[in-house]
Symmetry: C2
């Protein structure tokens, strides 16, 4: 088992992608008016990309056109103090091709919030890394 | 109940601070070699600041000196599809005053990872905002 300098278990890329596909909620990290911003979203892993649905006029839609973003998923047990996190960095862009939008509309992305969600953001999974904290297995 | 343009309930500042104080894990959002980065951390709310312990030589320590960061906590129920999130934006800095470091060492921050954690990062809570998704109360 590979450990990083903080003693956390380093996850393989395959494990990162498996965990990424399993998470119901992720957090997209972007820049909003020159300040760091983070927003939880539902999403779907579609090939080598994360697909997010949002409203066309949303702050998220405006802030994620042709830029690099981070995306994070995690799961923790606060009692056992164990858990894992996976982070992705990649180029984000709006999907504008009508045929591609029709295809993405069939993906099982279920926004929890009310309102229309006619805008698709695609984040390429260009860098992925993950860590896990376990108990009794850190040596 | 105030709703935002996406139909999410807007939390008051008092509610945001209460939820922030209740969360076992938060995610600090920073810039690492010109790329957006996000890392889960344990933390403590100390007055108007978030306090994080990390290793002196950590990537997080290096990337959070005299800069503006975001910090996010959330909690979701994937079955009910309800939850909340709170985001903070503020100036981060290393705590270097020995008396202040001694005081912060007494705070109930429990890093889950092994290894020394002799470096304190303080994030001023300068902007705070939060949203909640409920079922059957969105109108």
């Amino acid at each position: 088992m590979k450990l990083d300098s903080s003693g956390l278990q380093v996850l393989t890329e395959a494990e990162c992608l498996r965990l990424l596909a399993s998470a119901p909620i992720g957090r997209i990290v972007f820049t909003d008016r020159a300040l760091p911003a983070v927003q939880p979203v539902t999403f779907c892993l579609d090939g080598d990309a994360i697909v997010i649905r949002t409203g066309l006029g949303s702050k998220l839609a405006a802030a994620t056109r042709r830029t690099v973003v981070a995306f994070e998923v995690d799961d923790y047990d606060p009692v056992l103090r164990t858990g894992w996190s996976v982070s992705v960095v990649g180029h984000a862009d709006a999907v504008t091709d009508p045929a591609e939008m029709s295809r993405l509309a069939m993906l099982p992305i279920e926004p929890w919030a009310p309102g229309s969600r006619d805008h698709f953001i695609r984040v390429r999974v260009e860098q992925v890394s993950g860590r896990r904290i376990t108990r009794g297995h850190s040596n």
